[in-house]
């Protein structure tokens, strides 16, 4: 019998190219790799007849199962399907990092990564692995840039090595003491154009459908632009439109906490611009819980403002948010008898 190969992963082309989507050097060791019987028609094209090979010796099934569960990750950013592999085994905290172009979204991600990789996370938290280390590293070195005109309109299912795509970065954290809980962060890496597009047209809301599962939203705004007289009104108004779209058109749940992350604070003496406070009030008017954080992912004057200021605070604010409204307050059915209506 001739054996063809296939892969359970939807976008894997191992059957035709021999290259594993998960970058396994030997594709047959990939847990998603499967051998299948080829149809008679396709047998003629097979180049590797298996008939003469001896029957494989009986194997220890438990050992096979152990090998199958040993998965190697390529380390690049994750698509939604890749992220589901993590989420179905452990709860994943999905954190959306949103904002216009050049406000500091990528700097936020890089700063977080560099703190984790240099053992500089705040006390109480430990780095607990990442399935996208290479993706963080590429961003930190400026090797992964958005390509003009080639932006995907949704989070991709699977990512590729050749281009940067809207995707997720994974970072595992563990509490250093107490219950030593683990947190699997799935942080979005989205182009600023998505935010700009949503401000301009409601039809861009489809790209943000994933926010229904977000555990928190970090809206990044440029502190310098919000402080400057020439730019603050335009930037503030644009973000007000953006928040209106998130609340109205996208329909982000009211239990999702917002962080208004004011970047480049090192250049404005760590002040929170009044325009940012007004923007936060606008977010609150929509019924969301919002926290304003003055931040500097990379400081131009580290002696005065330390690198990474406000980066982890944003993550911690979302991880600690516990405000679920309305569910426990479900209306009671009035009891028919006085005995049933007694409440102490």
């Amino acid at each position: 019998m001739i054996v063809a190969v296939t892969c359970e992963k939807a976008d894997c082309t191992v059957a035709t190219t021999g290259t594993c989507l998960l970058s396994q050097p030997n594709p047959s060791e990939c847990p998603h790799y499967r051998a299948k019987s080829a149809s008679p028609a396709s047998q003629a094209q097979e180049v590797k007849p298996q008939e003469s090979e001896p029957e494989p010796p009986p194997v220890d099934l438990s050992a096979t199962a152990r090998r199958a569960s040993r998965t190697f990750h390529a380390g690049i950013e994750l698509g939604t399907v890749d992220a589901a592999d993590i989420m179905k085994s452990r709860y994943g905290h999905v954190i959306a990092v949103l904002g216009s172009t050049d406000v500091g979204k990528t700097c936020f991600l890089c700063s977080l990564y560099l703190m984790a990789s240099n053992a500089m996370l705040p006390s109480g938290y430990l780095f607990a692995g990442s399935q996208s280390l290479q993706a963080f590293e590429d961003r930190a070195r400026g090797l992964r840039e958005w390509k003009d005109g080639k932006l995907a309109k949704q989070l991709v299912d699977h990512t590729h090595l050749d281009t940067r795509q809207p995707s997720l970065l994974h970072l595992g954290l563990r509490e250093a003491s107490g219950e030593r809980r683990r947190f699997d962060l799935l942080l979005t890496d989205l182009p600023g154009e998505w935010t700009d597009n949503l401000v301009k047209k409601a039809s861009a809301a489809d790209a943000f459908k994933f926010l229904a599962r977000a555990d928190g939203i970090i809206v990044v705004v440029d502190g310098k632009l919000l402080m400057a007289d020439e730019t603050r009104h335009a930037v503030q108004q644009e973000m007000i439109y953006f928040v209106d779209r998130l609340a109205g058109t996208v329909g982000v749940s009211k239990v999702t906490p917002f962080v208004l992350w004011v970047s480049k604070s090192d250049e404005i003496d760590k002040l929170v611009p009044p325009a940012a406070t007004e923007l936060a009030a606008h977010i609150e008017q929509h019924g969301y819980h919002v926290t304003v954080i003055s931040a500097a992912a990379f400081s131009r004057s580290p002696a005065k403002v330390e690198n990474g200021m406000g980066v982890f605070n944003a993550i911690e604010t979302i991880l600690r948010h516990q405000d679920v409204q309305g569910i426990n307050a479900a209306s009671e059915i009035p009891a028919t008898r006085a005995f049933g209506r007694f409440r102490g």
């Binding site: 359970e8 199962a65 569960s69 939604t80 992220a83 589901a84 592999d85 989420m87 179905k88 085994s89 452990r90 709860y91 994943g92 905290h93 999905v94 989070l155 997720l168 219950e179 809980r181 799935l186 459908k209 994933f210 229904a212 599962r213 555990d215 928190g216 239990v255 999702t256 991880l319 600690r320 948010h321 516990q322 679920v324 569910i327 426990n328 479900a330 009671e332 059915i333 009891a335 028919t336 008898r337 005995f339 049933g340 209506r341 007694f342 409440r343 102490g344």
Partner: protein, 365 residues
């Protein structure tokens, strides 16, 4: 609750495909039908435990049989879900939650009532989870269980006079030879109706007199002569013994009155689980011992549903040490340092006793 499949499934998949939502919805329906049967009661109770603390907890890594059952149901419609518990635990939890929600909201069978009672006992004392979307699921299930129990308790206590009206509407038959056949079924219904009504009245009388007397029959002392924790235990147990199943929502108010009457505010401060359980160990075991369902068997299989009794038994048997504290947390999902007011602990006692009664009682809805 199948209409919440997409919402619940999102804890395990950011953007599940339409096909996946359909398959999981069908699997949840299959699981719901399965646990609605009396013979699958242990699977039902295990599902409640899995939803409350997760299928990746120590409870399920030691005995994965119920997790395997849930996996099998999903696997029948979708072969792509990994079989390893460490790779599918959240997805199993999502499907089990949908199935339980469906059972509670769409069924009226006794198992639906049991599921709601078990959820009520498992979730009440537990601290709220940090994971937002998981918290929404647990809150949704908890609210559905509360609503179902409340409606069911009210229905059980509603005055009914349908049979009496039918009796009064009887007319004298022309042929008196058929009188017996006509009158007996109606008379039988009237008697049943009167008996049911008497049962409801009896519950009210027993409970109100117990509350008015303020006297614990278990301890043989006035409630005010007991410590506040002693009064909490007595009120939780003794009110649960007097309640018709399912209990009325007013029970919470009665527990509060019995526990807090005559106490100073400082007596009602937060108490750690280890202190409450340490004080209650022996009395708790006595209060829960019944011939029908030995409590030891229940706590061994379902520590998440009986966290308080389980902890009491464990501390009574092995004492309190760091090792025991760790094991108790792994088994019940509650840390020994977890705190509640005496009234809240009394309510947890009440809920666990009600669940135990529900497992042996054949009456009720």
């Amino acid at each position: 609750m199948l209409n919440k499949t997409l919402e619940f499934l999102r804890i395990a998949d950011l953007q599940p495909s339409d096909e996946k939502v359909r398959k999981r919805s069908e699997s949840a329906k299959d699981l719901s039908d399965l646990i609605a049967k009396r013979e699958n009661r242990s699977l039902l109770l295990s599902c409640v435990q899995g939803v409350a603390v997760g299928f990746d907890g120590a409870l399920f890594t030691h005995d994965a049989s119920s997790a395997t059952e849930v996996y099998k149901v999903i696997n029948e419609r979708d072969k792509t879900l990994p079989s390893e518990l460490k790779e599918n635990a959240v997805e199993l939890r999502a499907v089990a939650a949908i199935a339980l929600g469906e059972l509670i909201t769409a069924h009226t069978a006794r198992e639906a009532l049991l599921a709601a009672t078990a959820l009520n006992s498992a979730l009440y004392s537990r601290p709220s989870v940090n994971e937002q979307h998981l918290r929404v699921i647990l809150e949704t299930l908890s609210a559905a269980a509360r609503k179902m129990l409340q409606a069911s308790a009210d229905t059980r206590r509603q005055r009914n006079s349908d049979a009496l009206k039918a009796f009064e509407a009887l007319e004298k038959p022309a042929d008196e030879s058929d009188l017996w056949d006509e009158i007996m079924p109606v008379m039988s219904s009237v008697i049943k109706e009167v008996r049911a009504q008497d049962e409801v009245n009896q519950e009210e009388l027993e409970t109100l007199w117990w509350l008015f007397a303020g006297y614990s029959e278990l301890e043989g002392k006035a409630l005010t002569d007991l410590t506040v924790l002693g009064a909490a235990l007595a009120s939780g147990i003794e009110l649960a013994q007097r309640a018709i199943l399912p209990p009325s929502a007013s029970a919470a108010g009665m527990i509060k009155r019995a526990t807090e009457a005559g106490r100073k505010p400082e007596d009602l401060a937060l108490v750690k689980l280890q202190d409450a359980a340490g004080q209650w160990s022996n009395a708790m075991s006595d209060s829960f011992s019944t011939a029908e369902v030995p409590i030891g068997k229940l706590t061994a299989s379902y520590p998440v549903l009986f966290p308080l009794v389980s902890t009491c038994q464990r501390l009574s048997a092995d004492g309190s040490s760091a090792k025991i504290a760790k094991e108790v947390k792994a088994q019940t999902g509650l840390a020994l340092t977890h705190q509640h007011t005496p009234t809240e602990w009394a309510t947890q006692v009440f809920r666990e006793k009600i669940l135990q009664r529900m497992l042996v009682d054949t009456k009720g809805q």
